[in-house]
């Protein structure tokens, strides 16, 4: 059934459903395209030629398998627990995003489509998509909230350098969620030759399942690496959760191991109590958003509430439906990490290990400090280091006052 690269069956319910979550809340006009993608994916994941091509790209282009790195000096700040970092930051384009993008780009070609559209917040998914489209000779259009194009100007230049058209979205809150809305509007009008390369485990079926399958390689590699390194499974897995694609990829390989605790760390912003956060599970409620039933940040009338996080990649007012299900069943535990705690973990990893993490991943590191202290020095905690922090230097420099003319630090 399952192949080398891709993952296990859904964790419950009818196809595309995860318990009471997931499903498909989309215009009828898109159902045929969603069905086409679902069928194409079901075939591709069982197809030897497709898998060989994808595995080859992941190995020779992305640089997989990504290493597992012991972080002993960082671990001193985690109650002495052993900390193992899964180095998705070392992938080509700098994050886990490329795993999903290469798979869907190959699928696009297989479906005979010539144009790819994508949404992006911080720009990591957009850059990865532009990269894969350049590699495979596909036309690429990336929707990005106008606010984000300003905050992430360098990534806009990267995407354009790679040949993508970047369209600033000037409606709504002008951030990631509005870019997703605009991508859906484009898709329905151009669906005959266009694939929507959605960047996370959200949206209507089959996206949560397909994107999870394509990131399963993170957990599968890490599970083998941890076993080989330590002779046993980790006690806990820590990952950051925005939409939740890196987390579900890391979790998927351990869901059947009851002894392995799974922790997802959401963006707590200024603190969940302040209302300025992006912690959909911790601080939101079940609803329907952008094609799926899941936890959503919404007001009493079901209007989406703007999210806030220092990390643009986690700044999304909902979460993948499988996480909603894992939260309700208790198989995974979700907590919020504030901007301040994430930035402290960011600084700490730089200073103790010489690794600059993405601010997104810094949430998983802050979480590891918390659970390391709870589980004690005998524990091993696997942290998914989902991306690198080069893109975040502007934010970090401003936060820590690193520029010479900004005076005293911290």
């Amino acid at each position: 059934m399952t192949t080398e690269t891709t993952g296990p069956a859904a964790t419950g319910g009818a196809p595309g459903h995860f318990g009471r979550y997931g499903g498909r809340f989309s215009p009828e006009a898109l159902v045929a395209a969603l069905d086409e993608v679902a069928r194409a994916w079901e075939k591709a994941r069982e197809d030897k030629d497709f898998q060989e091509e994808l595995d080859g790209l992941l190995r020779d282009y992305t640089g997989r398998p990504s290493p597992l790195t012991d972080a002993p000096r960082f671990a001193e700040h985690c109650g002495g627990a052993r900390i193992l970092l899964k180095r998705e930051d070392l992938n080509h384009t700098g994050s886990h995003k490329i795993n999903n993008v290469l798979g869907q780009a190959l699928l696009t070609r297989r479906m005979g489509k010539t144009r790819v559209i994508a949404e992006t917040g911080a720009g990591q998914h957009g850059v990865a998509t532009a990269t894969a489209c350049a590699l495979l000779g596909l036309e690429c259009v990336v929707y990005m909230g106008e606010e984000d194009t300003r905050r992430q100007a360098l990534n806009v230049a990267r995407m354009r350098m790679l040949g993508a058209e970047v369209v600033p979205v000037t409606i709504g809150s002008r951030t990631l969620k509005d870019a997703v809305n605009e991508a859906f509007r484009d898709w329905v009008a151009n669906v005959d030759h266009t694939h929507y390369l959605l960047g996370t485990v959200a949206g209507p079926h089959p996206f949560p399942t397909m994107v999870r399958d394509l990131h399963y390689i993170i957990g599968r590699e890490a599970r083998e690496q941890v076993l080989e390194r330590t002779g046993r499974l980790p006690d806990a897995v820590s990952a950051c959760v925005g939409g939740g694609s890196n987390a579900i990829g890391a979790f998927a390989a351990f869901i059947g191991d009851p002894g392995v605790r799974l922790y997802g760390f959401e963006a707590g912003g200024d603190g969940v109590a302040t209302g300025r956060h992006a912690a959909s599970i911790t601080g939101g409620s079940p609803g329907v958003f952008q094609g799926t039933r899941t936890y959503v940040l919404q007001d009493e009338h079901g209007q989406t509430v703007p999210s806030h996080s220092i990390s643009a990649g986690l700044d999304y007012p909902a979460v993948g439906p499988e996480h909603a299900h894992l939260a309700d069943t208790g198989r995974a535990e979700y907590r919020a990490v504030t901007d301040a705690d994430a930035m402290e973990a960011f600084r700490l990893l730089c200073r103790t290990e010489g690794i600059i993490p993405a601010i997104e991943s810094a949430h998983a590191l802050a979480g590891a400090r918390e659970i390391g202290r709870e589980l004690g020095p005998e524990a091993t905690v696997l942290v998914n280091l989902s991306g690198r922090g080069d893109k975040d230097m502007g934010t970090a420099a401003a936060y820590f006052g690193l520029m010479d003319d900004e005076g005293e630090q911290e």
């Binding site: 009828e28 329905v188 009493e300 009338h301």
Partner: protein, 283 residues
Amino acid sequence: MTGQPNTAQDADGTTPLQRGLARAKDEGRAALIGYLPAGFPDLASSIEVVRAMVAGGCDVVEVGLPYSDPTMDGPTIQRAADRALAAGTTPADVLRVVEAVAEAGAAALVMSYWNPIDRYGTARFAADLASAGGSGAITPDLLPEEAGEWMEATDAHGLDRIFLVAPSSTDERLRLTTGASRGFVYAASLMGVTGTRAAVASTAEKLVVRTRQAIGDSGLPVCVGLGISSGEQAAEVAGYADGVIVGAGFCQRVLDAADLGAATAAVGAFAEELAEGARAGRR
């Protein structure tokens, strides 16, 4: 209170929507269905505007429940919904406008993305909609597969439930969707978002023909929307559909108007133009 659930249906078991569509058919014309978000540009003004729509000849008014993430709407309706949200429009306001439409003598529907109804509570929404005199609702991002609770709630309160079909729908899905619909089925004329277009999409008539084949002899009316914004286009669609649905054209006139008086005048005149088209085009 009788203990029986309140119902949108008359003693004869029909809703105002069903009667309105039947009347248009008897008169040998297509029905005119207009859309306006409640609370656009504010609650009181939106009530005046829907009255002008009805006075101008709308048989049915779809009262939009403005939503923060209108994935299926183009720029005009997005702007209208934004204005309504900025004015603080709530689901209770939407039901106020539904009442106003019903009082003005037209059939009232709610048009809403699913989350606001889900949040309100599906059963409670159905009960309150029926109490307000609404005939039912159009739910553009709710597919029949996910509509179990909505089917129960609309059955309990005798409400119509309008699902959408699209040019990309397979014959199998046309059967599924028309089988789940009551009142009418909404045929989206083209693959795209709401907004005015220079011409009626060539895909529209073929979809109506295919949809009628899927419906068989139940007589469920087929109404066409998306991109219709002139009397001429209304006449063309009235040549093959049971109803003509117009949204962005009304919103645009309100956006362009200098004041409420100008808005109601422009909207009323536009409704008259469309109604004339809906009469002229009938076979």
